[in-house]
């Protein structure tokens, strides 16, 4: 802030400031202004088909969105402490993230995983771990999202069911979500991330097994959370995020119909996990358009009859990609604007990404501030007192129509090539991502897009004004490795073997494996052993290292 007068560009004051161009982040050209001539007069009421204005007539007047920050790092005990800390700060739902070791279906004692244990989520391997993770958390009163994909989603869901049984909670009392989306195992749907780990068809099949069990046994459980967020964060544009997510959902719907379910038995158990970036108007229009597309798709294409089946429900996370390491306090402002957009878009739950996440997982203090951002919007702004406050804004309605059109165009393009799975296998998705990434980098490098503190208004001699969380600890990692090794030593190996053999046979036969995964865990098999058994049944070898 100690710039010398000779370094200040006084001419800039004469020139003034204005936007560099008049396009949205995804490239839609905006007009000077919009009038009633730009919008279709729909006279739509919130809570009525096609639900552009929201799935509930009373929306936040009836109930605020769920404040659902992701938590999980280190050992299950450490994560449990953080879960309780965020709940006592006023978080209203849990969102459990597991480490990448779990996401890949491995145990901490696997030779290639030591350096990754507990870093970006909690380390879990056994039912005991799950018990420690949820110690003191009432499973029938707090809703929980398990952020995990198949095959590990099957193991964690089975552990959750067993935990409930141990505590005497009936399965129809459980409330929550298992993400269970096969295409976002890690950070986005790239073939290089997915293909070395598990066969794709088997991965999808296991996900469907979990869904089938939950539809039949856990009536209040969300069986699939289509992970649009991770796709978007690979630098895709907003219409691509929406279209890809819709096409993934279509694939799952068809597969569940193939298992003999009626659409109305499961459609209301599918939800989405979407991203909100910095383009305020565009992101709100995207969510409104997704609601309309989902409703029409379910009614017209899949012949749903129940209204609930036509409700597009979404968990929203504010963008991590939008955060800067430079001037990190600016990220509080970014997250606030994005959270506001999520609320104006009608989110069911929100995770506000913390300001320090351009460096590491958030500190407890940063996470608490994220919750406070949501609480300030909920309790102080009064925007919750009227439903869809932006409905009827000429530009919002015009952009919503425009997004519906753009998303549909892309969906048709994907469907004509055989659907999302086929596009993914063929590398079409990878190509879109690669293009998106290079385009994103180019726009920033060439200052076609400005990011304050990064490529405009930089502080040359910046000192980092925040403290950063340190998760990495060789002791924690060693503790986890030793724990799993000991667990494997102190058990009846013959019953473990029998349970895994049964799982192997059922996986080979192609029947639903969920119950035999439950049985394997009861007999003290670990997460890594179960996933390895499934790999063997599918004649697949892990291609890492």
């Amino acid at each position: 802030m100690s710039e010398k007068p000779e370094n200040i560009d006084f001419d800039a004051y004469i020139r003034g400031e204005r936007p560099k161009n008049f396009k949205t982040a995804s490239g839609i050209e905006l007009k000077e202004f919009y009038t009633q001539d730009d919008v279709t007069d729909r006279r739509e009421i919130p809570g009525t088909y096609p639900f552009t204005r929201g799935i509930h007539r009373d929306m936040y007047r009836g109930r605020f969105w769920t404040r659902r920050q992701q938590t999980g790092y280190g050992t299950p005990e450490e994560s449990n402490k953080r879960m309780k800390a965020v709940l006592s700060a006023g978080q209203t739902g849990l969102n459990i993230d597991v480490d990448v070791v779990v996401k890949l279906g491995l145990d901490p004692d696997h030779p290639l995983v030591e350096g990754d244990i507990g870093l970006v989520g909690t380390s879990i391997s056994t039912l005991e771990d799950m018990e420690k993770l949820f110690d003191g958390i009432p499973l029938d009163r707090v809703s929980t999202t398990l952020i995990v994909s198949p095959p590990a989603s099957c193991v964690l869901m089975a552990m959750y069911v067993l935990l409930a049984r141990k505590r005497g909670i009936p399965e129809n009392g459980l409330i929550g979500t298992v993400m269970n989306d096969s295409f976002n195992q890690l950070v986005g749907p790239t073939r290089e991330a997915e293909f070395p780990l598990f066969p794709l068809e088997g991965n999808i099949k296991i996900g469907i097994d979990v869904m089938e069990y939950c539809i039949k046994n856990i009536p209040r459980w969300t069986i699939l959370n289509v992970n649009a967020y991770n796709m978007r964060e690979t630098c895709l544009r907003a219409p691509e995020e929406a279209a890809f997510a819709m096409c993934i959902a279509k694939e799952y719907i068809r597969k569940l119909l193939d298992r003999g379910f009626h659409i109305d038995e499961f459609a209301s158990k599918i939800a989405f996990f979407t991203d909100i970036g910095m383009d305020f108007l565009e992101e709100i229009a995207k969510i409104r358009a997704m609601r309309r597309i989902w409703a029409k798709m379910l009614k017209e294409e899949f012949k749903a009859e129940k209204e609930r089946s036509m409700w597009f429900k979404t968990a929203i996370q504010t963008s991590g990609l939008a955060l800067t390491a430079q001037q990190p306090l600016n990220n509080i402002v970014r997250a606030t604007i994005q959270t506001l957009a999520a609320v104006l878009a009608g989110a069911q739950s929100i995770h506000t990404t913390s300001y320090d996440e351009a460096y590491a997982l958030p500190t407890e203090e940063a996470q608490k501030l994220s919750i406070r951002i949501q609480q300030i919007i909920a309790y102080e702004t009064n925007i919750t007192k009227v439903v869809d406050p932006l409905g009827g804004s000429y530009v919002i309605e015009w952009l919503t129509d425009k997004f519906e059109e753009e998303i549909r165009k892309l969906m048709i393009e994907i469907e004509e090539q055989g659907g999302f799975i086929e596009c993914f296998k063929r590398g079409w998705i990878d190509e879109r991502i690669a293009r998106g990434r290079h385009e994103y980098a180019r726009r920033i490098e060439e200052k076609e897009e400005f990011i304050v503190g990064l490529n405009i208004f930089e502080d040359k001699e910046e000192k980092l004004p925040i403290s950063i969380s340190k998760v990495y600890s060789t002791e924690m990692q060693k503790e986890r490795i030793d724990y799993v090794k000991n667990y494997k030593k102190n058990r009846d190996t013959s019953s473990v073997k029998m349970a895994l053999d049964r799982l192997y046979t059922e996986a080979k036969e192609g029947s639903n494996i969920f119950v035999s995964v439950v049985n394997a865990i009861e007999n003290r098999a670990t997460l890594g052993e179960i996933c390895e058994t499934l790999r063997k049944a599918y004649d697949f070898e892990l291609k890492i290292g």
Binding site: V100, V101, K103, L104, L112, V113, E114, G115, D116, L119, V120, Q185, L186, V187, G188, T190, E192, A193, P196, E233, T234, C235, L321, T324, A325, Q326, A358, Y359, A360, L361, A434, R437, H438, Y440, A441, E445, L454, N455, L464, I468, K470, V471, Y472, T474, Q477, K543, I544, G545
Partner: protein, 130 residues
Amino acid sequence: MSRGKIIVAKLGLDGHTNGIRIVSKWLQDAGFEVVYMGLYNTPEKVIKAMLQEDADILGLSFLEGSHMYYAEKLRELAIRYGIEGRKIVFGGVIPPDDVEKLKALGISEVFLPGTSKEKIISTIRTLLGG
């Protein structure tokens, strides 16, 4: 000045590839020879690749916090294989406090989030002695 051969890779299980993909292309476009080894490598694998490919620089990307762990492993391996002189650079989501610690472990350069294309390319040129 030689064209400069750079191996880029990710170690362990970290699957974040936005940065490494973008930087690989920048380096390629700038005229360097880039060998992209992608995801899920062990430290042994990349060090051996460095020897086999006779690469000048090894570039590794970290976004999940495992950079300190792997820097220590790489140091042991560099000594074992007698290639302490070869340059290793890191990039990614790395707390600034760790930069000096990484340099003490023999990492030549650490590129933090938001580093410009120009800065990365000029630093690589300097490391190559050009």
